[in-house]
């Protein structure tokens, strides 16, 4: 469990927030620039001393203003990956990797494992200035991991990379997440990174927490800024139940919901996450016939929120545990008399669902 309570003001900007997140798992702090994301990370790392702070990671207090406790960064044992890598230019890649390792107590994370996990074996004798941006960031992640941190902090680690480099690093982050039971606090303003790796989401705006909770819950809410984005849509945990190679379809379970998707290239039992874009869901009160559609998911309306700017309405649908978010016209809401509690069918095109690794 990570527990954070911070108050700090710099001139006109004030930070006043509290959140907690389960560990292990990836907690993403998400918000526009200027929301205070980097200040929160600096406070977690101890590089910023907030005027008031209560920070506890897995029971270890790092700061407790009430008790007058403030651990300096060098004693916090948090690995921090900066946006700009910050490798030591006067050292080889290997010396960089071993820098934190030498100063940490022996831990579970081994040098060879990290080198292998991040695919940086061929770079060990190189100098940082001869590396590409993506390679640098992988080395920086390795360096932080090898300091045997109790928590890995990542401050927009992909923000300075182009799309190709981003795509190169993301799989390593996912491997990191699944292979090491290490809590990660990850900062980003890129929604695709949120959907791909977050377990817990903390939405920040102007120094405050707008909402915090499991990714699946927050992405299904119609009343958060996430829902106003083009790419709004619920993220659901799912598991592959059956493959039907002849039909070129896979059947996935998410709670009580059954979804047919184009054949997924992974064995039965694989746990995945699905992202169902809100604008791709059609709502109906009676099942249509003679239609190409595979997925007709029964559920009940949980909430209806108006999005005046788009002349749209966001409908949250509880489909037996999994919650979907649909963006439809306010006119459709009126015609179908959609209101909380009303039974409804969600029509989901197989081709519209994004399949993401867990």
């Amino acid at each position: 469990m990570i527990q954070v309570r911070l108050r700090h003001s710099f001139g006109a900007f004030a930070l006043d927030l509290a959140f907690s997140a389960p560990t292990p798992g990836v907690t993403v702090l998400f918000g526009p620039s200027g929301a205070g994301k980097t200040s929160v990370v600096a406070a977690l790392a101890g590089l910023l001393r907030p005027q008031y702070g209560q920070i506890t990671v897995d029971g270890t207090p790092l700061q407790d203003s009430d008790a007058g406790l403030f651990l300096p960064p060098e004693h916090r044992r948090l690995g921090l990956v900066f946006q700009d890598a910050r490798l030591f230019p006067h050292m080889s890649v290997e010396s960089n990797l071993r820098y934190g390792m030498r100063r940490a107590p022996r831990g579970p994370i081994g040098f060879a494992d990290v080198v292998d996990l991040l695919g940086i074996g061929a770079l060990l004798q190189r100098r940082p200035h001869s590396l590409s941006g993506g390679e640098r960031q992988r080395v920086a992640i390795g360096r932080a991991l090898l300091s045997q941190p109790r928590l890995l902090l990542m401050d927009e680690p992909l923000a300075s990379l182009d799309l190709a480099r981003k795509a190169e690093i993301l799989p390593y982050l996912l491997r990191l997440k699944t292979m090491l039971a290490l809590p990660i606090v990850y900062i980003t303003h890129a929604p695709d990174e949120v959907f791909a790796i977050a377990d817990t989401l903390v939405l920040l705006e102007a120094g405050r927490v707008l909402a915090a909770g499991p990714l699946t819950e927050l992405t299904a809410r119609g009343d958060l800024p996430l829902a106003a984005r083009d790419d709004a849509g619920a993220v659901l945990p799912a598991e592959i139940a059956e493959h039907h190679p002849a039909r070129r379809l896979s059947l996935l379970h998410s709670g009580a919901m059954r979804l047919w998707l184009p054949l997924v290239d992974a064995p039965v039992g694989t746990r995945l996450r699905l992202r169902i874009p809100a604008r791709e869901i059609i709502l109906a009160t009676a099942a249509p016939e003679g239609i190409s559609l595979h997925n007709i998911v029964p559920g009940r309306v949980r909430a209806v929120t108006e999005d005046a700017a788009r002349h749209a309405a966001l409908v949250e649908i509880d489909a037996g545990g999994a919650v979907l978010l649909a963006r439809i016209t306010p006119d459709a809401v009126t015609r179908l008399a959609l209101a909380p509690g009303v039974a409804v069918l969600a029509l989901i095109k197989s081709m519209a669902v994004d399949v993401l690794p867990r």
């Binding site: 060098e74 910050r86 230019p89 006067h90 934190g100 932080a144």
Partner: protein
Amino acid sequence: MLLFVHKKKFFAQEPSIPAYLTPDEWTAVGLTLSIAARSVIFGLPLAVLVAFVLARCRFPGRAVLDALVHLPMVLPPVVVGWLLLLLFGVRGPFGEVLYAWFGIRLVFTANGAALACGVMAFPLMVRAIRLSLESVDPGLEQAARTLGAGWWDRLATVTLPMAAPGILVGAIVGYAVSLGEFGAVITFAANIAGQTQTLPLAIYTALQTPGGEAVAARLSLVSITLAVAGLVLAEWAGGRLRRRVGR
């Protein structure tokens, strides 16, 4: 270069052959190099410390320290020499203590000449080092901190290695300035052949002696060679180190 190559040959020849240095002149060259080395060896650590304080610390009196460090650059060297006489003379506040406690006398000695050179070279050394310290990215020190490095650890493994090019340049510039220092040395350490008579003093003495132009010319040539070598070395070593730290 000719002057050095024929050193061996010189001993077999008449000392009056003007193209080569006499033993006394070689002594002056050796003494100059040794005094300059001492001035850098003792001055550099102090220069690094002062440069660090000026670059990193904010405290009342910082401007005063800054002015004090730069004073030798703007004062006439003779005045610096005289102030050193007042402070480090056998009756001066520091000189008396040094002599009474450690038996060290600085006035009219080679070490005194090194002190005078060190004081004159100090502002240039501090400037070079301070510039390089200020250009060290504080983000790297933060990174070292999050990786568990304490204050001294960061200084030794990140800050100083990153500032190494500037420290080296400071040392070489300090050495070169020490080779040429005249006014402060002659005032504080006097012009004693074989003890405090460095190259500039020897050249001056030669020029005061009737018919000494040839000696002055040879010694000047040595001076010029040393100075050019110093500059080339500073450029080459600084460039190499800068590449090492990835700038």
